[in-house]
């Protein structure tokens, strides 16, 4: 069968793949922005002394990390209508990806903040800085550098995870491959093509991670 691999069909379906790729890219960007928001909120809660915010944040992070994304996706997809909230599949998908990735982002940010030596905070206190000033001027600028590479790693995971949205009929890249596979009975053409597109995104993000590592390394050398 693979000897009559049809490049012509792939070219014919190229607009569909293009649309799928564009959808995957922007829904991943939106979800990543959402994940950053969720992650910052969770890590702020997680770093509080009192248990009132810390315990729910920890419970949420553990619950997300110990269950598969697909089950979380179905939880929202089948569960939200039950609460009277009816959203388009695409929105449910972005919500699921944001809430899922947010838990991992929270852990990355927390690790970044905790990596700052205790002495830095003490120096800030000794200089008479308020909590907000210490965070903004001392801790976050340093933590930022440590968190960028793992955050880009999480972005790679998110792009790959977005393939699962095809299972709730979001018209993204994997869905395009499924359509070609089922319309024309050409699974090889469909799935190899989308695999190639995902690799493109993967190497792009990986290159970005390497670049940021070099840039941050230089910035580190300068200070």
């Amino acid at each position: 069968m693979l000897e009559n691999f049809s490049f012509r069909t792939i070219v014919e379906y190229l607009p569909l793949f293009g649309q799928g790729l564009v959808t995957t890219v922007w829904l991943s960007l939106l979800s990543f922005a959402g994940a950053l928001a969720v992650g910052i909120l969770l890590s702020a809660m997680n770093l509080q002394r009192g248990w009132l915010f810390r315990v729910p944040a920890k419970a949420y992070i553990d619950a997300v990390r110990a269950t598969p994304l697909l089950a979380q996706l179905y939880f929202l997809y089948f569960g939200l209508p039950r609460l009277g909230i009816i959203l388009p599949e695409l929105v449910v998908g972005i919500l699921a990806l944001s809430l899922n990735s947010g838990a991992y982002v929270a852990e990355i940010i927390r690790a970044g903040i905790l990596s700052i030596p205790r002495g830095q905070v003490e120096a800030g206190v000794a200089s008479g800085m308020t909590y907000v000033q210490r965070m903004r001027l001392v801790i976050l600028p340093q933590a930022f550098k440590v968190t960028i590479p793992p955050l880009l790693g999480q972005a790679i995971v998110l792009v790959k995870d977005s393939a699962l949205l095809s299972l709730i009929a979001v018209a993204e890249l994997t869905r395009a491959g499924q359509l070609l596979a089922s319309d024309r009975f050409m699974p090889a053409e469909g799935f190899i093509t989308i695999a190639a597109f995902y690799l493109l995104l993967y190497y792009g993000l990986k290159g970005l991670a390497a670049l940021s590592g070099r840039w941050l390394g230089q910035a580190g050398a300068r200070t």
């Binding site: 693979l2 598969p68 939880f75 690799l199």
Partner: protein
């Protein structure tokens, strides 16, 4: 109404047990096979043969760069066209084993590279054979670096096994999907599905954390 739903859910517990069994079986088989193959690949990749290590590196990159769902579809739909007949279960096992092996390979490589070269040189000077060096000197020291992420990888593997429901295997996630067609309470059904995974995965997450702390503490001792 909720009472009826609970009754209906209670009625589908044999199905849920079957799903849980499928999830555990898929995870366990591919965990064992993936660990063995992953260690083999990792050792080969650091073995010094350029060609072998770049072929393994390229394969690992291909697998890390594509979504697992796409890999399952490729294996399930394309291998039969190459004349290899597969049922969904074997396709799932192959896909999961391959995924685990690639990620574990990376972990093992990082572990082996963390062992100081002086250790290998000392082993060489003591006249140990290649296999003896690996088994008695390098691997035992590498294991300290390997163990925490390895356990973390097992958690990922169990979670990724949910994706094989896409090719129709009746695992825990698929059971949830089937039950929710009859009992229209997605919140309850998938809460229970999530609970099933949580019970298996959470102890492993705790174990990985414990291992990480212990190794961190051990490093502190060495530095003192």
């Amino acid at each position: 109404m909720i009472w009826q739903q609970l009754q209906s859910l209670a009625g589908s517990y044999p199905l849920a047990l079957r799903g849980l069994g499928m999830t555990v079986m898929l995870s366990l088989i591919s965990l064992v096979l993936g660990t063995l193959i992953g260690f083999g690949l990792g050792i080969l990749r650091t073995g010094g043969n350029r060609l072998i290590s770049s072929v393994i590196g390229a394969w690992v990159d291909l697998i890390r760069g594509t979504p697992f769902l796409v890999q399952i579809f490729l294996i399930f739909f394309i291998l039969p066209e190459l004349g290899i007949e597969l049922d969904a279960f074997s396709a799932g096992i192959i896909a999961l084993t391959n995924l685990a092996a690639c990620f574990i390979c990376e972990i093992v490589v990082a572990g082996i590279r963390s062992v100081p070269t002086g250790q290998v040189e000392a082993a060489l000077a003591s006249g140990l054979s290649r296999w003896q060096r690996m088994r008695q000197v390098v691997l035992p020291q590498a294991m300290r670096i390997v163990l925490p992420p390895l356990v973390g990888q097992y958690v990922l593997l169990i979670k990724d096994s949910s994706v094989v429901s896409a090719i129709g295997l009746t695992d825990l996630t698929r059971v949830g999907w089937l039950v929710v067609q009859r009992v229209p309470n997605g919140l309850l059904v998938f809460f229970l599905v999530g609970l099933g995974y949580f019970i298996v995965c959470y102890p492993l997450i705790m174990l990985a954390r414990r291992l990480e702390q212990r190794i961190g503490a051990a490093h502190g001792e060495v530095q003192l």
